[in-house]
């Protein structure tokens, strides 16, 4: 019995069928494969004889989402893996268009907030700088991902933040 998956990488979709006896079909092309693991999250994949080394990011293996991030022979890949049922669910959700809402911007790394460049209620453009975070002796600007209004600022200049700390809530 085969299992069907839709893999999406860089906005491109691929159909993958896992067959029995170490055979796989990628977009209609059937290939032999073998996979072995030396340690958790690390794979050796032999696909039609070609040798690939795969290292999964820590978070990818534990997460409950369909996303996976890994290195394939040193190249970073972010993929979304859906089976037919999760795909159906997604299609249903997609039809309910989002119009507005809030989004929380979090610290991408631990650091020190050295400057807050906006005020509560301010209207900002996509790409506009919001907060300067200093880490590893370098200043890094946290920018607005989309045109929005500043709903709430959760930190002050001088606040030390951990990775993932809530910085700003924006309303789009």
């Amino acid at each position: 019995m085969s299992k069907r998956y839709i893999v999406s990488i860089n906005q491109q979709e691929y159909e993958v069928l896992l067959l029995a006896d170490n055979r796989v079909v990628v977009n209609g092309e059937e290939l032999p494969y073998h996979v072995a693991s030396r340690t958790h999250g690390e794979l050796s994949l032999l696909l039609d004889g070609l040798s690939y080394e795969v290292h999964a990011a820590d978070t990818s293996l534990d997460s409950q989402t369909n996303d996976v991030t890994f290195l394939l022979n040193g190249m970073e890949i972010r993929a979304t893996v859906d089976d037919p049922s999760s795909l159906l669910l997604k299609t249903l959700l997609r039809t309910q268009h989002r119009s507005s809402g809030t989004r929380q911007l979090r610290a991408p790394m631990p650091g020190l907030v050295t400057k807050i460049e906006v005020q509560k209620g301010e209207v900002v453009q996509a790409g506009q700088g919001l907060i300067i975070l200093e880490a590893m002796k370098m200043e890094n600007e946290i920018r607005s991902p989309e045109p929005a209004t500043i709903e709430e600022i959760h930190v002050n200049s001088g606040t030390a933040v951990e990775k993932g700390s809530l910085l700003i809530t924006i309303r789009y």
């Binding site: 990488i9 990628v26 794979l43 696909l47 070609l50 690939y52 990011a57 290195l71 893996v81 790394m109």
Partner: protein, 504 residues
């Protein structure tokens, strides 16, 4: 002349790969090594590899590797003969060097007086001008008006560069090529500087078109000998920091090398400079050079010079510090082949070189012929946010530039790092860039030529494999892969080494 004095115990006031680099030279010379460490570096590789290690109690650079008193207290109480500062941290701090000298401890580097003179931008430039080494002309004081600016620009000659006094990062910078443009460019630079830094002061300097960053390694002893070891080209920079360095430079011919070397040696002599140092120049397309500044310490990229000359710069530094005469003269310096270095930083090249923090999940260092890796980390280490994010340097050698570049590409391919992002793919795209391969680079190369989209070049086979890997990771192997038992036996080799040293 300096009295001969041996070094038996040396403290390294640094961390990461450079601390280990210094230890290696010490070990080969029979010198005992003493490391210091911050709280987050307790299990760092430089602590593991040292003969002895003492805590600096704290986390930030200011309360640890930059705390002069803590380091001096350890040096005094542990009967240290000499301190090597590495690069960064206290390496160019004249007052630290002075305190070390006063404590009767050798500072492996120039005298505090030479650091003050040659390390200071203004004093070093004045000295260069005094002995006829060209410098980039410009105003030292901010401009007060447009008319003053035009007068200065005419004096220096267009094109000129307007720069924010508070500046950095290219903000408030304007290139002006004629008198007509000056007024509006000046006002725009002022406005930009005001909004970026809250300070509208602007000064100007000669604009060097397509400048290359070329530096000369020098070393001097206490017996009046100063020699140079050729150049390193460091034009590949991001955030105005070097990432790829090489020697010899594809742009430097024998005639230019001689002129640069002569100027560097003359400057070092005039400054009473001893030990290893680097004189940095900007070189324009017409092979005119301008003195930029001197780094009064060992440079990150020193292995490039070591690789082609066969010299060990750290050993030479230690010998000079002990008062010995340099074992070689200028005529003995020979360079063979070509060497290139890539710096591996914990940064995300796809996201404006943002620092990438986290744990080194996989960290496999490349090997093979003509490869040198100076590394400070191992699998499982968490990269602290408090210090410079450089993990390692990779240096390759080849008979020709083409060969060392090919070897470097092979080596970077073998270097596997997971858990954080690094500059490895970035270096790869530079090494494959036709202009770089042709030796055509300047300090704006990365800004002008690098596109994050060039980082990953997938073949159809790669895409196919990525799909299969993604499915396997997400489904089949999520539960079924067991953790490998990590209780490995420890060899007693290190124990023996420590015992030998203690009893000696």
């Amino acid at each position: 002349m300096k009295k001969l004095r041996d070094i038996k115990r040396l403290l390294i006031a640094n961390r990461g790969e450079i601390a280990i680099r210094v230890m290696r030279a010490c070990r080969e010379m029979g010198i005992q090594t003493v490391a210091v460490f911050s709280d987050v570096d307790r299990t760092a590789l430089h602590v593991m590899l040292a003969d002895e290690a003492y805590p600096l109690n704290g986390v930030t650079a200011a309360e640890t590797y930059l705390d002069q008193s803590k380091i001096l207290d350890i040096a005094r109480s542990k009967k240290i003969d000499a301190i090597h500062p590495g690069y960064g941290f206290l390496s160019e701090n004249a007052s630290f060097a002075e305190r070390v000298e006063h404590a009767g401890i050798m500072f492996v580097g120039p005298s505090s007086k030479a650091i003050r003179l040659m390390g200071g931008k203004t004093s070093a430039r004045n000295l260069a001008q005094e002995i006829g080494v060209p410098t980039i002309s410009g105003t030292i004081e901010p401009l007060s008006s447009v008319s003053e600016g035009i007068a200065k620009a005419k004096e220096i000659g267009f094109p000129v560069l307007l720069k924010a006094a508070a500046g950095g990062g290219g903000k408030g910078m304007r290139i002006v090529s004629s008198e007509e443009e000056f007024g509006s460019a000046f006002r725009m630079a002022q406005a930009e500087a005001k909004s970026a830094f809250g300070d509208d002061r602007v000064y100007l300097e000669k604009f060097v078109e397509h400048p290359r960053h070329i530096e000369i390694q020098i070393i001097g002893d206490h017996h009046g000998n100063v020699i140079h070891l050729g150049e390193r080209e460091c034009s590949i920079q991001r955030r105005h920091q070097k990432v790829i360095e090489e020697s010899p430079s594809p742009f430097v011919d024998n005639e230019l090398r001689e002129r640069l070397g002569e100027a560097a040696v003359r400057l070092a002599r005039k400054g009473g400079y001893t030990n290893a140092g680097t004189i940095e120049f900007l070189v324009d397309e017409k092979k005119q050079f301008y003195f930029l500044e001197m780094n009064t310490r060992l440079q990150v990229e020193h292995p490039v010079t070591e690789t082609i000359t066969g010299l060990d710069l750290v050993k030479l530094q230690l010998e000079v510090a002990m008062g010995r005469e340099l074992p070689i003269r200028q005529a003995d310096v020979r360079a063979t082949g070509h060497a290139i270095e890539c710096r591996i930083y914990a940064e995300d090249p796809a996201n404006n070189f943002f620092p990438s923090t986290g744990r080194l999940q996989t960290y496999r260092i490349p090997q093979g012929p003509h490869v040198r890796v100076d590394n400070g980390f191992q699998t499982g280490d968490v990269i602290p946010i408090h210090y410079d994010p450089m993990l390692a340097k990779v240096i390759t050698w080849g008979k020709s530039r083409g060969e060392s570049i090919e070897t470097m590409k092979r080596v970077l391919d073998e270097f596997v790092v997971s858990g954080i992002r690094t500059t490895i793919p970035f270096c790869m795209t530079i090494l494959e860039h036709p202009a770089f391969v042709a030796g055509m680079c300047d300090t704006q190369f990365v800004e002008r030529e690098f596109r994050p989209s060039a980082l990953w070049q997938f073949s159809d086979n790669d895409r196919r494999a990525a799909c299969v890997a993604a499915v396997l990771l997400k489904t089949e192997l999520r539960q079924s892969v067991d953790l490998v038992n990590h209780n490995l036996p420890v060899s007693n080799w290190k124990k023996k080494r420590n015992e030998t040293l203690r009893s000696s």
